[in-house]
């Protein structure tokens, strides 16, 4: 049995009437109002108290003026999936305030701006009224910056109500505004004013409390895009090309920052090149040109960009050129929910392009895996001389995740089968597409190799073992068979799935990517509430390794949980499994643009279990 530190601990009874270190706080604001800083401070302050947290930003595709919700989940057991229910609402947006309040479960709390008069709406909630504008005037904040610090007041109010230590809030503010002392002082005074107001005027009426704990010591908070960027920088990426698209843009923007910090040589020169291309077609074309010439080249995009990269993806497959593409998945096309999360590019990416193409896919579930798979992707791309897609998503890429610090990559870079001048002198020459080693992978040379026999001609699928032009049926068929052997070899090289099995259960769950976080919590709910033990296999790569087949064989029925409508991963599994096993697979689809949550998964499974 393989377990992982990703597996969450089961809950224990606290036996108190207060709900301690277990709540979800939703802050409803208008985007462009500067609430991001306030929310980060609140998240950090709870984290510094030693309580596991996660932060999810639910935002519109807009610069300013539309509603946005930031959800902080604090959970002593380490559950960091989205929680469906909101326990504590900070209502700052007049547009949505009424709906936000009406959607709460009885017993929840609401902190609201006094003029909104929300307390008149319901009698089964706890209301805290805060006169933000009066407090701003009382602390003497100049009129022109009032809008900027208004949101910091609720941080102080919430800190007082939930018993978050103001010292931690102060540390978080200093960190947030580390390069702007004046802004830090101003924001701190606003937070303190909120805290003092709440202390004087808002007696505690609700059940929720944050208590100091020790579960975050040494941990980091980072988003998946930053983790991927750091991973690429430490995996020796040399050429990065991109075209801005939500939710992948911050991956490359952060990569540029990290590369400037850690990848400038002693001579002041860069050991990398980053190019903002004219579109995704050019971005992937540059990656292929660079990969062909021997660079570790990558791009990052989302579904619409993946579509545009289709032709080159096929070229990479047939002409056998290394490339790494991060797909930070979102809903599409065009204006279709570009700021909401999904796992909806699995099937289209697995077979991206025309002809008999199929690609290696990696599925990171955590920020740690964004870091490690950034390196795995390059090693696999260069080893297998083909494009490798890393299938992240908006939830992983853009939201804040708590994690253990990343471990330094000890494994040397795998640059694959590349022949240099000395090799060619020894061998007397080479055949680019000949399967010398029986693994389906040929040897390549890089342009610029100083040997008269180094060059070869790169073209689509019409070539023989010597890379010569051919349209002969046998040559084509042989090459296709070899490409298939290469793909079979990849089965045992992609990251292995993670198995969490009791050895007794006949029911299984298969999931991948960020769905993992809901599954961990859901399995605890199923066990705790229904006495149902579920084995769990988390996929981490495609093509599927033998463990996937074994898992399906070992269970009577398997729920494949994923964040798309059409059971895309289940479909991929069906293509791979022997026919007798197909009826064991059942789809659980989560597809509303929000990250999957445990309660929805649990309810869905129990419905399908007929209970």
């Amino acid at each position: 049995m393989v377990t992982s530190d990703l597996v969450v601990q089961p809950p224990q009874n606290s036996g108190s009437s207060h709900v301690v270190n277990d709540m979800s706080i939703s802050v409803a604001t208008v985007n462009g109002s500067g609430s991001q800083s306030s929310n980060s401070v609140l998240l950090r302050a709870i984290f510094q108290m030693g309580v596991p947290v996660s932060g999810k930003n639910l935002f519109p595709s807009n610069i300013a003026g539309l509603p946005t919700w930031f959800t902080i989940r604090a959970n002593q057991h380490g559950y960091i999936a989205r929680k469906k229910e909101i326990d504590f609402l900070v209502a700052m947006n007049p547009e949505t305030a009424k709906d936000d309040v009406m959607s709460l479960a009885p017993g929840s709390s609401v902190v609201f701006d006094e003029p909104l008069k929300l307390s008149e709406l319901r009698t089964d909630l706890v209301f805290y009224s805060v006169p933000y504008d009066k407090i701003l005037v009382s602390v003497g904040v100049e009129a022109k910056v009032r809008k900027l610090v208004r949101n910091m007041i609720y941080v102080g109010v919430v800190a007082q109500i939930l018993d978050i230590d103001m010292k931690e809030v102060e540390i978080a503010i200093q960190r947030q505004f580390s390069k702007k002392a004046k802004a830090a002082a101003l924001n701190l005074s606003a937070a303190k004013a909120g805290f003092e107001y709440a202390k004087a005027s808002l007696p505690k009426q609700d059940r929720f409390l944050i208590e100091r704990s020790n579960k975050t010591a040494g941990k980091i908070i980072v988003d998946g895009n930053s983790a991927a960027a750091l991973g690429a920088v430490f995996a020796g990426v040399t050429v990065v090309t991109w075209y801005p698209i939500t939710p992948s843009s911050s991956l490359v923007e952060t990569l540029i920052e990290y590369a400037k910090e850690y990848r400038i040589g002693a001579d002041g020169k860069s050991t990398f090149a980053v190019v903002q291309a004219e579109d995704e077609l050019a971005a992937i074309g540059m990656v292929l040109g660079a990969g062909w010439a021997g660079a570790r080249a990558m791009t990052a995009t989302a579904g619409p960009g993946i579509s545009l990269m289709a032709e080159f993806a096929g070229y990479s497959y047939y002409a056998e050129i290394p490339a790494v593409v991060w797909d930070v998945q979102r809903v599409g096309p065009s204006t279709g929910l570009p700021t909401r999360t999904a796992q909806c590019d699995v099937l289209s990416t697995a077979f991206l392009s025309h002809g008999d193409t199929k690609h290696i896919l990696l599925f990171p579930a955590s920020v740690e895996e964004c870091f490690t798979m950034a390196g795995d992707a390059f090693d696999l791309a260069e080893r297998f001389q083909t494009v490798v897609f890393v299938m992240s998503d908006l939830d992983l890429g853009m939201n804040n995740w708590m994690a253990d610090p990343f471990k330094y990559p000890e494994r040397p870079l795998d640059r694959g089968k590349v022949l240099g001048k000395a090799d060619l002198e020894r061998l007397g020459g080479f055949q680019r597409y000949k399967d010398v080693d029986g693994d389906g992978i040929g040897y390549r040379t890089l342009p610029g190799t100083d040997h008269p026999g180094a060059a070869y001609f790169t073209r689509g699928s019409g070539h023989n073992e010597k890379a010569q032009y051919t349209e002969k049926p046998d040559d084509y068929a042989n090459n296709m068979e070899r490409l298939n052997r290469k793909f079979e070899t990849a089965r045992s090289h992609v990251p292995r799935p993670e198995l969490v099995a009791s050895g007794k259960s006949k029911i299984g769950i298969i999931a991948y990517g960020t769905t993992h976080w809901a599954i961990g919590e859901s399995r605890d709910q199923l066990r705790g509430e229904y006495g149902l033990e579920m084995d769990y296999l988390r996929l981490r790569g495609f093509p599927f390794s033998k463990e996937v087949h074994e898992f399906v064989k070992a269970h009577d029925r398997i729920y494949v949980v994923e964040q798309n409508r059409d059971a895309q991963m289940l479909t991929l599994l069906k293509m791979d499994l022997e026919p007798a096993l197909l009826t064991r697979l059942r789809s659980i689809s989560h597809m509303d643009g929000l990250p999957a949550d445990a309660r929805s998964v649990t309810d869905h499974i129990m419905t399908m279990e007929g209970k």
């Binding site: 430490f234 020169k269 050991t271 190019v275 074309g285 040109g289 021997g294 660079a295 610029g448 001609f457």
Partner: protein, 345 residues
């Protein structure tokens, strides 16, 4: 009587012209593209370019097949339709020590590839970009391309009514630093321009009119051999003196313009139009516009700026090829990761 074998003629790096040959062409007999391939390999031979240092890049079309027909000792990448510029950009970022040669056609550049073309031009990436321009799609049997002139007629009698895209005008405007037009049938001019192109550091864009003998060489076509013979209007007489040779022809003062190239070679333009200065971007655009009005097929070096920083200069990249940097230069040390983690705590 014994004979001593005559030593084969070699260039300045000791290679014979045979070592610059490619595979046998599969294009039509008489195709202008084959002549251009010959001129390219001669220029590379004469300039002493090490074949292994050349990267040949192309898109799709008759023109894009030609890299197979010269210099087999150079790596070549026959990419997808209209996307050669991006592939070339990637390859040269990965290894800046390569000599980049892109071969494209008028369809591959001016229609499907116009987006990538214009962005390549504005980056001034050091490479040579050749358009083998015949005004029609050959591989799909003779449809008009976007460089076809108004009034040009297909064999079927269809007349083109849309104005042509002038790739030279675009290239000058957008920032390419060596822009010219030539004709596959003008051996002397094309050879001189190709050698000057090799000497240049920056984007070279050469539009070479290259008649399609099968689909566009008839009466009524404006890209036929006959039409070019009747309408070619050279701006100047182009000659080239490489940096490793002495200047042996002196022009009368004021009758020729001498442009010192990046590598010390000399591009010499004997003036046919007295006031024309190819170092003046505005003048180049005006003269090209004027040529359109007059219906001339203007040839020569329209614009040259040997000193503008290239895209690689702007990126502040190390001089060593990125592709083959050792692990200790591309994986930061342990302390770097610790520092990054400390910032996230």
């Amino acid at each position: 009587m014994s004979t001593t074998p005559v030593a084969p003629k070699v260039n300045r790096i000791g290679l014979t012209v045979l070592e610059y040959k490619g595979s046998k062409t599969t294009l039509c007999a008489g195709c202008g593209h084959n002549v251009i391939s010959e001129r390219i390999l001669e220029a590379m031979y004469e300039m002493g370019v090490q074949p292994e240092r050349l990267a040949k890049l192309s898109g799709i079309g008759c023109s894009s097949k030609t890299p197979a027909y010269f210099m087999s000792r150079s790596h070549s990448f026959n990419s997808v339709h209209g996307r050669m510029p991006s592939v070339a950009t990637g390859a040269l970022l990965a290894n800046r020590s390569l000599v980049g040669l892109g071969v494209s056609g008028d369809g591959d550049t001016a229609s499907i590839g116009i987006g990538q073309f214009v962005h390549l031009m504005r980056r001034n990436l050091p490479m040579i970009y050749i358009i083998e321009d015949n005004g029609v799609y050959g591989l799909t049997k003779g449809q008009f391309s976007a460089t076809a002139d108004v009034g040009s007629k297909l064999k079927s009698g269809v007349v083109n009514e849309l104005p042509p895209i002038d790739t030279c005008l675009l290239a000058v405007q957008l920032g390419a630093t060596f822009v010219g037009r030539s004709f596959s049938g003008d051996k002397k001019q094309l050879s001189a321009m190709l050698k000057a192109a090799i000497a240049h550091n920056g984007t070279v864009m050469l539009d070479v009119v290259s008649p399609c003998v099968t689909f566009n060489d008839h009466e009524g076509s404006t890209k036929s051999y006959q039409y070019m013979k009747d309408h070619e209007e050279p701006l100047h007489e182009v000659s080239f003196v490489p940096h490793f040779e002495e200047i042996d022809v002196e022009y009368e003062p004021g009758s020729a313009l001498d442009v010192r190239m990046h590598d010390g070679s000399h591009l010499r333009l004997r003036k046919l139009e007295e006031d024309y200065d190819p170092r003046d971007q505005g003048m180049a655009m005006e003269r090209l516009h004027d040529a359109h009005q007059k219906g001339e097929v203007l040839t020569g070096v329209f614009y040259v700026n040997p000193d503008k920083p290239t895209f690689l200069d702007m990126l502040n990249m190390t001089e060593d090829p990125l592709a083959t940097l050792p692990q200790d230069r591309v994986r930061p040390p342990r302390e770097a990761l610790e520092a990054a983690m400390a910032e996230l705590r």
